[in-house]
C-alpha cells in the first residue's frame, strides 16, 4: 500500500486527505495548529450562499475520521528528505519520522499584514480594521467603533496589499472583491441605518453567483460603490477616519469621513509555503506562491517528481476552487502512485 504525506491541514489538505484515503491510500496529514481548518477558522459566513463557514469546516473535519488518515496536529515538518527511489521522509517537530511515496504541499496562504500600507494607518488609527478582524466582529455580533458606538458610516477598501508594487504584490488576490460585497451585505443586515461604501478599482466577480450578489448588494442593500483606490486615511479628533480617494468615473477628488474603515487584506503565500518551496527546491512565481509545472495541465505538479501542490499555496483561490483543486491533486497523486 502507498503512503502520501500531506503538509497543511486547511481545506485543501483535508479534502485531498479524504479523497486519497477513499482511494485506499494511507495518508499522514500534518497540521501546525491544534485543529484543522486553517484560515477557514477565521471566517464567519461564506460567499455567495452565506453558509456558516464552520459548517463546512466541521464537514471537512468529520471526513478526517477515515481510518486511512493519520492526523498529526500541532506538528511542523522540521526536515524533508527524498531518497533515490523517490521515497520521502519527513521529520516532525516532536522528533518522529514519517515516510511516504509522495508529498502533497497544502501550506496555503496568509493574509497581508495591513500595517505595511502605512498610509492606511492600521495599528495606529483606532477605527481601521481588516476584513479578518471584521469576520471576528461578525462572530461576536458586535460591530462597534473604538468608543463603543454604532458606526454610522463604514467604508470597505478593496485591493489592500494586492495589485500593489509598493508592497511587492503584483498579483490580484481574487477573493477580496466578493468578500467585500459579502461583508457589506452582512454589515447592512446588522446595521440597517448605516451607510456603507466600497472603494474599488475593478469589481472582479469571477465566480458563479458573485455578480448576482454584487447586484443584490446594490439593489437590495443599497451599498454604494465608488471607483477609486484609497490614497490615504487620517484620524480626526473624534477618532473618525478621513479618507481621500478620487472618484475616478467623475474625475474629481472625493473626501468622506468614516466611523469604521475595513481593509480587504489580500493573500500572500504563507511562511510555510515559502519555507517548503525552499526546502524542496520547487520554484516560486513572482507573486511568491509556488509555481505549478504548467498552468493548465500541470497545476498540481511541481518540477520535483513526487512533490504535488494544492490549494492556495499556488495561487489565491476561493473554497470551491480549493476543494476542486484538492480532488484534482488526489487524482494526479493516485495516477502517479499507480505508475510507480
Amino acid at each position: 500500500m502507498h503512503t502520501v504525506i500531506i503538509i497543511g491541514g486547511g481545506p485543501a489538505g483535508c479534502e485531498a486527505a479524504y479523497q486519497l484515503a477513499s482511494d485506499g491510500i494511507q495518508v499522514h496529514l500534518i497540521e501546525k495548529n491544534n485543529e484543522t481548518g486553517g484560515n477557514l477558522n477565521n471566517w464567519y459566513q461564506l460567499f455567495p450562499d452565506r453558509k456558516n463557514a464552520q459548517d463546512l469546516n466541521k464537514r471537512l473535519q468529520e471526513q478526517l475520521n477515515h481510518p486511512g488518515i493519520t492526523l498529526h496536529l500541532g506538528m511542523e515538518p522540521s526536515r524533508v528528505e527524498k531518497d533515490g527511489q523517490g521515497r520521502f521522509s519527513v521529520s516532525l517537530s516532536d522528533g518522529s519520522l514519517l515516510e511516504g511515496d509522495a508529498l502533497l504541499v497544502a501550506t496555503g496562504f496568509k493574509t497581508f499584514d495591513a500595517k505595511r500600507k502605512e498610509e492606511y494607518g492600521y495599528g495606529i488609527y483606532e477605527n481601521v480594521v481588516t476584513s479578518v478582524d471584521l469576520e471576528n466582529m461578525f462572530r461576536n455580533h458586535a460591530i462597534r467603533t473604538s468608543k463603543g458606538d454604532v458606526p454610522r458610516r463604514i467604508g470597505i477598501i478593496h485591493c489592500v496589499g494586492s495589485r500593489d508594487e509598493k508592497v511587492c504584490n503584483f498579483h490580484c488576490s481574487k477573493l477580496c472583491c466578493i468578500t467585500g460585497v459579502k461583508q457589506a451585505i452582512e454589515l447592512r443586515e446588522m446595521l440597517p441605518e448605516s451607510e456603507i461604501f466600497c472603494f474599488y478599482m475593478d469589481m472582479r466577480m469571477f465566480g458563479p453567483g458573485y455578480e448576482e450578489m454584487y447586484r443584490e448588494a446594490q439593489e437590495k442593500y443599497n451599498i454604494k460603490f465608488i471607483r477609486g483606490r484609497l490614497s490615504e486615511a487620517a484620524e480626526n479628533r473624534e477618532h473618525q477616519v478621513q479618507v481621500k480617494v478620487e472618484d475616478t468615473l467623475l474625475g474629481r477628488p472625493l473626501r468622506v469621513t468614516l466611523d469604521l474603515m475595513v481593509l480587504l487584506v489580500g493573500m500572500e503565500a504563507s511562511n510555510e509555503t515559502q519555507g517548503m518551496a525552499r526546502e524542496l527546491g520547487v520554484k516560486l512565481a513572482p507573486s511568491g506562491f509556488i509555481l505549478p509545472l504548467d498552468p493548465h495541465y500541470g497545476n498540481n505538479l511541481t518540477g520535483e517528481k513526487g512533490v504535488f501542490i494544492t490549494g492556495c499555496c499556488s495561487a489565491p483561490m476561493n473554497l470551491t476552487d480549493t476543494l476542486n483543486d484538492a480532488r484534482s491533486a488526489a487524482v494526479c497523486i493516485t495516477r502517479y502512485l499507480n505508475m510507480k
Binding site: 500595517k115 498610509e119 495599528g123 495606529i124 488609527y125 483606532e126 487620517a234
Partner: protein
C-alpha cells in the same frame, strides 16, 4: 491614535547620519527669510555640540527652484550639484548637509539616478570637468540639516534652558510638525520615520517637552508648488493649500507649527496674514496667528538664544504668545532695533491679525 503603531513605523525607517564633519550648503529661501536660523544652526553645531561644520563661501544655489519651475534642465542642476560635491571633496569632507529641503530632495534624486544610470553620472563628470576643471567624490553621507538636529535632539535637551511647556500651567505645548514634501515623499527610506509618519520634527518636539499634534491634513503640501507661488496669478493655489491645513489643525489649538522646509515655514507664516486680510480669519488664540518656527529657531529658543538674534521678528505672525508660554525673557523694545540699538521704525499693523 495608537502611539506604539507609530513607533513601529519609526523603527522601520531609521537612516544613517554621520556623527561629525559636515559640509554645509545654504538655502536660497532660508538665508533670505531665516538668516538667523542658518546662523543658529552653525552656532549650535559648533559651539553647543562641538561639531566640525564647513560653511564654504564658494558654493551657490543648487538651482532647485529653477529646476522645479522647469526653466533649468536636469543636466544643468546635476552639474551644479556635482560642483558642490567637488567643493566638498576638495575641502576634505565626505558628509553633505543641505539646509534646503528641495536641495535635499534633489541631491537624493541625483544620487539615486546615478546609481541606476551610471552613464548619466559619467556624462555629468565630463560636463563638470569641461566647465570647471573639477572632479568629485560622491558624498559618503547625505542628510538634511533637520536630520542632524534630530540626531542630537537629546544633547540639546540636556543643555536646554527652556522646555516646550507652559510655565504658567505646566501644560505641554502642542506642536504641529510640517515636513517639506521633498524630504521623504519621493524616497521614503531617506527620511527619518518614512513618508507617512515622519519623526524628524515630532521627535524634536517630544524630546524638548512638547506634545505632538497629528491632524488629518498633516501630510498635505503647504502649496508652494514653485511656479504656483512664484507667478502672482497662481498664488490662489498656494494660499488655498495652506488654508486647508490651517482649517484642519485649528480644532487642536496648536501652540506652534515647526517646519523643516524653509519655504513651508515662510508660507505658513505669511499666508496666515494674507488669509486674515482677505477673509478676516485668524487661527491662533485671541486673534493671533499660530506661530511658525523653523527647527533651528525651536532649538535656539530651547537653548536660550535671544529671540531677536534668531530673527523671530522676521515672522509676520507674532511669536510673543509662544515666548510668554515658554517663559522666555525678551526685550520688546529691541524687537525692531538694529544691532547697535538704533531705531529704524517698525512694521505697520495688519488689519485683523493681532501682532
Amino acid at each position: 491614535m495608537n502611539l506604539e503603531g507609530k513607533q513601529q513605523v519609526w523603527k522601520d525607517y531609521q537612516k544613517e547620519i554621520a556623527d561629525d564633519r559636515y559640509y554645509y550648503a545654504r538655502s536660497c529661501i532660508r538665508q533670505t527669510f531665516f538668516p538667523g536660523s542658518e546662523w543658529a544652526y552653525l552656532d549650535i553645531l559648533k559651539n553647543k555640540l562641538g561639531k566640525d561644520v564647513l560653511d564654504d563661501p564658494r558654493h551657490t544655489t543648487c538651482t532647485g527652484i529653477g529646476y522645479h519651475s522647469d526653466v533649468v534642465p536636469v543636466q544643468t542642476i546635476m552639474t551644479v550639484v556635482a560642483r558642490h560635491f567637488a567643493l566638498m571633496t576638495e575641502a576634505g569632507y565626505e558628509n553633505i548637509t543641505p539646509s534646503c529641503i528641495t536641495s535635499f530632495g534633489i541631491y537624493t534624486e541625483i544620487l539615486e539616478t546615478w546609481a541606476h544610470h551610471p552613464e548619466i553620472e559619467e556624462q555629468i563628470r565630463e560636463y563638470l570637468w569641461k566647465a570647471t576643471g573639477r572632479e568629485f567624490k560622491k558624498p559618503k553621507n547625505l542628510a538634511h540639516t533637520s536630520d542632524i538636529i534630530y540626531k542630537f535632539r537629546e544633547d540639546i535637551a540636556a543643555q536646554a534652558r527652556y522646555k516646550l511647556v507652559d510655565v504658567h500651567t505646566g501644560r505641554q505645548l502642542r506642536g504641529v510638525d510640517h515636513i517639506g514634501c521633498h524630504y521623504a515623499k519621493m524616497f521614503p527610506s531617506k527620511g527619518i520615520g518614512g513618508a507617512e509618519f515622519p519623526a524628524v520634527l515630532s521627535g524634536m518636539i517630544s524630546s524638548w517637552g512638547g506634545d505632538v499634534v497629528d491632524y488629518p491634513e498633516r501630510r498635505h503640501c503647504c502649496g508652494f508648488g514653485f511656479r504656483q507661488y512664484l507667478v502672482m496669478a497662481n498664488r490662489g493655489y498656494s494660499v488655498a493649500n495652506s488654508k486647508k491645513k490651517f482649517e484642519s489643525m485649528r480644532p487642536y489649538e496648536p501652540d506652534f507649527i515647526v517646519a523643516n522646509c524653509p519655504g513651508c515655514a515662510m508660507f505658513l507664516d505669511k499666508w496666515q496674514y494674507t488669509i486674515s486680510e482677505m477673509e478676516g480669519t485668524t487661527y491662533g488664540q485671541d486673534g493671533y496667528g499660530i506661530p511658525v518656527l523653523t527647527y533651528e529657531e525651536l532649538a535656539g529658543l530651547v537653548l536660550g538664544y535671544d529671540p531677536w538674534e534668531l530673527g523671530l521678528q522676521m515672522h509676520q505672525v507674532a511669536v510673543e504668545p509662544l515666548l510668554d508660554k515658554m517663559g522666555i525673557a525678551y526685550d520688546p523694545e529691541m524687537k525692531y532695533r538694529t544691532k547697535e540699538g538704533k531705531d529704524i521704525g517698525r512694521p505697520k499693523c495688519p488689519t485683523y491679525l493681532k501682532v
